[in-house]
């Protein structure tokens, strides 16, 4: 069971109160994007064993989207943060580095 802290209403919500929104920070190129860029936006996903960034929605709660950083192997949650960002904030990256030195995810480290 995954328990995520909703950064908007401050509730420690369990998985059944949330709905998953897939991978975080997927960038859409354009206008005039190449076929490869549009393909990657639609289909290319990370599927890592370890550190991962995801979008979640507090569906049965305040209804807000937020981001979560967690480990897909141990289900450890490193932190949750606002949806209004295009990359993981520094405090989240630092929290991950403290527990998983040398981690990478896409071009983030």
């Amino acid at each position: 069971m995954l328990i995520l802290h909703c950064p908007y209403c401050g509730v420690d919500a369990e998985e059944t109160e949330l709905s998953p929104g897939g991978e975080a920070h997927v960038k859409r190129f354009g206008p005039g994007a190449s076929d490869e860029e549009f393909r990657d936006y639609l289909f290319a996903r990370e599927n890592p064993k370890g550190v991962h960034f995801e979008r979640w929605r507090h569906a049965n709660g305040c209804g807000k989207w937020f981001h979560a950083a967690r480990c897909t192997m141990t289900l450890e949650v490193f932190g949750t943060y606002s949806a209004q960002t295009t990359e993981p904030p520094k405090e989240i990256r630092d929290a991950i580095t403290a527990k998983r030195p040398g981690w990478t995810w896409r071009e983030v480290e």
Partner: protein, 191 residues
């Protein structure tokens, strides 16, 4: 032929169930959804105009002279006026003025129930993934959550009875759920 409906009808006809806890339908109750920037003066004025209450803080419920203001999300409040909803909505709209905000009468979209009695906390805790322990949840707090398969908002009145809001279309489902959870002899004795 069915008769034309001349007066509003409650979702459950004032249903009531006695078990470990008493579950009652509150009946017709005014509810106004207010969305906007909660830090703005216009929203504060609108809350004051509708309920006579101050703006509730995060997950807070504030009771005023003419109604209750409930925090629903960082940009949404639910105002429950005691009196005429139309008139209150007019006051809210007037108080909002030209501010970028939305106020809508949602009374007929929702149903409201009360769950009271010493085992009320336990009855609700059977259905929701929420810590309803006396130290963790008390009067003046609201929690939007999942009640079995449907969303619900739950808050506690000063007398430690719970108010539950659900969508009107699932009112019967929620009432029956609570009834089963409050079945005599099914007490867990956690709280």
């Amino acid at each position: 032929m069915s008769e034309p409906i001349t007066a509003p009808i409650t979702a459950l006809g004032g249903a009531r169930h006695d078990g470990l806890a008493r579950i009652e339908e509150v009946g017709l109750h005014g509810m106004i959804t207010l969305r906007g920037d909660l830090a703005s003066k216009a929203v504060k004025a609108a809350v004051m105009a509708a309920t006579g209450a101050k703006l509730p803080g995060q997950r807070g419920v504030v009771r005023g002279k003419s109604g209750t203001a409930i925090w629903m999300s960082p940009d949404e409040l639910l105002l429950c006026p005691y009196a005429e909803v139309d008139a209150t909505l007019g006051k809210v709209t007037a108080a909002l003025g030209t501010a970028h905000a939305l106020a809508v009468d949602v009374s007929d979209a929702r149903a409201m129930l009360t769950v009271s009695g010493p085992a009320a906390r336990e009855v609700l805790a059977k259905l929701c993934p929420v810590d309803f322990a006396p130290g963790a949840f008390g009067p003046g707090m609201v929690r939007r959550t999942r009640m079995a398969q449907v969303p619900a908002a739950i808050w506690m009145e000063q007398d430690e009875s719970f108010r539950v809001i659900c969508f009107r279309s699932v009112a019967r489902y929620v009432f029956d759920l609570l009834g089963v959870a409050a079945q005599p002899g099914s007490g867990v004795g956690v709280y």
